[in-house]
């Protein structure tokens, strides 16, 4: 093998070609051969607003399943849950179960409401929005009420990986900690750090509303820096973090899977991660290597978040050539990434085709060549816990509508907005290349306009101005290095330019002294 000493085996640093945004891909479900759209809208009319305490199973994945335990053996538990309005049996191996909490639920199967095998949800009736909620008017809220739930909403808007970066999230959670005042000292492996007061974990909920896509940088690696920040909050600190998806496209599509709680807006879209088929950094084999490892990383995000069963759906989001068929068994989605055969049985619904031959859609942006998850299917598949148009709706879905406070104008939102504004300003100042979409940065334009100078003093002044501008640019790049210059290459180039200016100054000064000496 040593004869291969020159061969390198990694392309992680390669730039992924820009992808076409898939934000407006038409509904995948419109292509379904079987419509189940109405099923998700079915209200469970017989469920009272105040449910009896259900049996609760806490899974090792972090998910909470509420329902009615029907049968328990040494190895598994079978319970009735309601998913998308449909009562279904679900069986959980005890090896996957962390804790079983018995409720006072003596109701027969089908009357316990849960969703996605996860949460007890109140059923919202038409015209019920403002019913007996105790929300909204923050001044009327009794902050000391131990039953009060705070929904701390932060809208993350803009380009994933730029406007929403690791620092954005770190700032958001720091501000939330301060404002909610629920962080306490940790113990054990969290000794020396803070965790969320266990008594307040169910009452202080951070809602991250996503309106983001990755703007031509559709590489799953973009999510790698951000996912751990949220994971730490949920897993290590016990912070309840909910994703509320209006748009999570490109690399942002894998981001919400870090949380067991995902909700959609009625217009919500998740997917369009990247058309990996367009990946081109070398020959076919090398491209497939790069695609394969990226899919492996993306799948890891889902498994980590407890969505491992939905990997076939992810694959159909990632590659045009992947089919996606689904049918339900015992309320659980069963997927195929190929066309069903006779042996697979009936009742398959196509969610996306292979985009090949007759299946190829005329326009990239319209069709079902790639799978884009919309609210109805997100809920049916058990990925979404429900659809909510407003925070009131979300409160209903969360079962906290009776006594909650929506905190939208919060410091975390300000911090997130400040980062985005800072990035926008930074780009205006330091963008190094003029494009159709974006002007050359203001500081670079000034740099280019500095006169060369006809004598030593003018040249010296010009170099001084250029040096100042380069330093300003470097300071901005440094401030936002995580998105502009993660590997330090840009700053190295700036340093070289600064050194060159210093060297020019040195040579010019020497030349000037020499000329002055000659004149004397």
């Amino acid at each position: 093998m040593n004869r291969l000493a020159r061969l390198m085996g990694s392309l992680r640093g390669f730039t992924v070609p820009a992808m076409v945004s898939l934000a407006v891909i038409a509904s995948a479900s419109q292509w379904s051969t079987v419509s189940a759209a109405d099923e998700s809208k079915q209200p469970a009319k017989d469920v009272p607003a105040a449910n009896p305490a259900p049996d609760r199973v806490v899974l090792r994945s972090g998910k909470i399943v509420d329902g009615l335990i029907l049968e328990e053996t040494d190895t598994q538990i079978t319970m009735t849950v309601v998913m998308s309005g449909i009562s279904a049996k679900a069986t959980f191996p005890k090896s996957d179960i962390l804790e079983i909490k018995r409720g006072n639920n003596a109701k027969p199967a089908g009357e316990v409401v849960a969703s996605k095998s996860v949460e007890v949800k109140p059923v919202k009736k038409k015209g019920d929005k403002k019913g007996d909620e105790k929300k909204a008017d923050e001044s009327s809220v009794d902050e000391d009420d131990p039953t009060l739930t705070r929904l701390y909403v932060v809208t993350l808007k803009g380009r994933f990986g730029f406007d929403i970066a690791k620092t954005t999230l770190v700032n958001v959670f720091e501000e939330a900690d301060k404002e909610l005042g629920d962080a306490v000292e940790g113990s054990g492996i969290m000794e020396g750090k803070t965790v969320i007061d266990p008594a307040k974990r169910d009452r202080n909920i951070i809602v991250l509303k996503l309106e983001t896509g990755s703007d031509g940088r559709a590489d799953v690696f973009l999510a790698e820096d951000l996912v751990p920040v949220v994971k730490e909050q949920i897993v290590d600190r016990g912070r309840r973090v909910i994703f509320w998806i209006d748009r999570a496209t490109g690399s942002a599509a894998v981001f919400p899977f870090v949380s067991p709680d995902i909700y959609f807006t009625p217009e919500g879209r998740l997917g369009g991660i990247a058309d990996l088929d367009e990946f081109d950094v070398g020959d076919h084999l090398v491209n497939e290597k790069q695609i394969s490892l990226r899919i492996g990383h993306a799948e890891g995000f889902l498994i980590k978040g407890g969505y491992g069963d939905h990997i076939p759906a992810l694959r159909a989001m990632l590659r045009k050539q992947e089919w996606l068929f689904v049918r339900f068994e015992g309320g659980k989605p069963i997927y195929l990434n190929r066309e069903p055969e006779e042996k697979d049985g009936p009742d398959w619904t196509m969610l996306s085709d292979d985009g090949d031959g007759d299946n190829k859609d005329e326009a990239v942006l319209i069709g079902n060549d790639m799978f884009l998850l919309e609210p109805d299917w997100a809920e049916k598949l058990g990925i979404s816990d429900g659809t909510a148009e407003t925070i009131d709706d979300l409160a209903f879905r969360l079962g906290v509508q009776r006594n909650y406070k929506a905190m939208e104008k919060n410091k975390a939102q300000k911090a997130a907005d400040a980062w985005k504004t800072g990035i926008d300003e930074a780009i205006k100042n330091v963008n190094p290349r003029e494009t159709e979409e974006r002007r050359l940065g203001k500081l670079w334009r000034e740099f280019n306009e500095v006169p060369a100078g006809s004598d030593f003093e003018e040249r010296k002044k010009g170099r001084g101005r250029k040096t100042t501008l380069l330093r300003q640019i470097r300071a901005i790049v440094t401030k936002y290095a995580e998105v502009f210059d993660a590997n330090g290459g840009w700053r190295s180039e700036l340093d070289v330019s600064l050194s060159r200016l210093a060297q020019e100054a040195e040579a010019d000064a020497r030349e000037n002294r020499s000329q002055n000496n000659n004149r004397r």
């Binding site: 000493a5 390198m8 990694s10 040494d74 070398g282 980590k304 340093d495 070289v496 050194s499 040579a507």
Partner: protein, 433 residues
């Protein structure tokens, strides 16, 4: 086209359980292993080279497989050891050692036998050392650095070394020394376990050395296509003789880790791969589509996620925390020891990263001074001044390289390069014209 079961050895036979007590309804057979361990349970099936035994974990009955090369004695229908309290006792699970890796003197405690009381700490806990191997194979992750880590802790006699892998690959040339060191040196003295966060390309080949692989939930392993960068058309996968060498290497490393070489091959080149899984969890691999599960279509390169790695027996389980990992490994009580081994790896990687930045800076300054010397405008003093500055920067660069020796091996900054640069400077210093 089933493969003989015995060929699966330790890969399929993930765990051997020792029971302190079993449920009374259980027919009790007792299997004594060469290591001295005793497994008690109900033998349900025996074949050429294996024994299936149902054991109780708490109230759960679980089928396990033991390869007969591990076994010294089988006793049938013996009495269960009664637990005074009448309750079941938690079991201790210990992975079967690879064939041929049994201690030559089974009765004697060896550091590699964590179940041996003599090998554990005074408080009975198994001594476990975690060493993180991250970033680029070659520069940041290499045999020399790993060897240094292990040498630091030899006196402390850890029983298990867990290599925590998070690497997107790197220099193929480093795979051989790294793998050889793990296989020929580390495995002799320690139970070596690969715990994968990400093991892509050269890192996947390296970790395939380990008989015991576990993955984190987010883990991935594969994408092992070897290629050459640069030139027109971007990166190009190896072909011909070079490819054959790499495929052979993959095969050899798979065999070291007791894995079917077809798996690694599907990570390296195009080719269909399928598998059957029988009722006992035994995986049979097929080059082609004969198996029930299509693991890799013919136009794809295989990267396994943690679920599939476990399903198809490439990993023995999935764990996100050290506790979970050790539980899966069957180590009931353990103690983390020898932090200096991992500290060295961190320090080593930080040095390499610092060096990268420093090398870029010094190289730029060297280039600047050299080009300024070339533009001296006839001023000999100025030219010599810049050449002197270039020489100074080159010396600083050379000195920096000494602190990051992996760069000498895997970058342009090798001995020959420095000699050439100094030689050019010497020539340039001679009077012009």
């Amino acid at each position: 086209m089933k493969r003989p079961l015995s060929m699966f050895g330790s890969v399929a036979a993930s765990l051997v359980l020792t029971l302190a007590c079993v449920a009374p309804s259980f027919a009790l057979d007792r299997i004594t292993l060469k290591s001295g361990k005793v497994v008690e349970g109900e033998i349900t099936k025996e074949g050429d080279g294996f024994v299936f035994v149902d054991v109780m974990i708490g109230k759960m009955r679980r089928a396990e497989i033991i390869t007969t090369d591990q076994v010294t004695k089988i006793e049938r229908d013996v009495d269960a050891k009664a637990d005074p309290a009448g309750t079941t006792v938690a079991t201790t699970a210990t992975p079967i050692k690879p064939v041929g890796k049994e201690p030559t003197k089974p009765a004697e405690a060896t550091p590699a036998d964590p179940a041996s009381p003599e090998a554990s700490t005074e408080d009975g806990a198994t001594r476990v050392c975690f060493i993180s191997l991250e970033e680029m194979v070659g520069t940041h992750l290499n045999a020399d650095a790993l060897k240094h880590s292990v040498e630091l802790i030899e006196d402390q006699k850890p029983e298990i070394i867990v290599l925590v892998i998070n690497s997107g690959g790197g220099a193929l040339a480093e795979v051989e020394p790294l793998s050889d060191y793990i296989h020929e040196e580390m495995k002799k003295h320690y139970r070596v376990v690969g715990w994968i966060q990400s093991a892509i390309s050269a890192a996947s080949m390296t970790v395939f050395n380990c008989e015991e692989i576990y993955m984190m939930k987010e883990g991935n392993v594969g994408g092992t296509v070897a290629f050459q960068s640069g030139g027109g058309g971007g990166a190009k996968a190896l072909e011909g003789g070079e490819l054959e060498v790499v495929l052979k290497a993959g095969e050899m490393l798979s065999k070291r880790g007791k894995r079917n070489p077809l798996i690694m091959r599907a990570m390296q080149v195009f080719g269909e791969l399928s598998a059957d899984i029988d009722e006992n969890g035994i995986v049979t691999w097929h080059a082609g589509t004969d198996g029930e599960f299509l693991v890799n279509p013919d136009d794809r390169i295989l990267t396994l996620n943690s679920n599939d790695a476990k399903k198809f027996g490439v990993s023995l389980g999935t764990a996100d925390t050290k506790d979970e990992l050790l539980r899966l490994m069957g180590v009931k009580e353990w103690k983390e020891v020898c932090p200096e081994a991992d500290e060295y790896q961190h320090e080593f990687r930080e040095n390499v990263t610092k060096f990268e930045a420093l090398a870029n800076k010094l190289m730029s300054e060297f280039d600047l001074a050299r080009s300024a010397a070339g533009q001296g405008g006839g001023d000999e003093k100025l030219r010599l001044m810049y050449l002197g500055r270039a020489e100074k920067k080159l010396k600083e660069l050379q000195s920096a390289v000494r602190n990051a020796p992996s760069f000498e091996k895997y970058s342009q900054f090798n001995k020959e390069w420095f000699e050439e640069q100094f030689d050019q400077l010497r020539k340039a210093k001679k009077p012009q014209g």
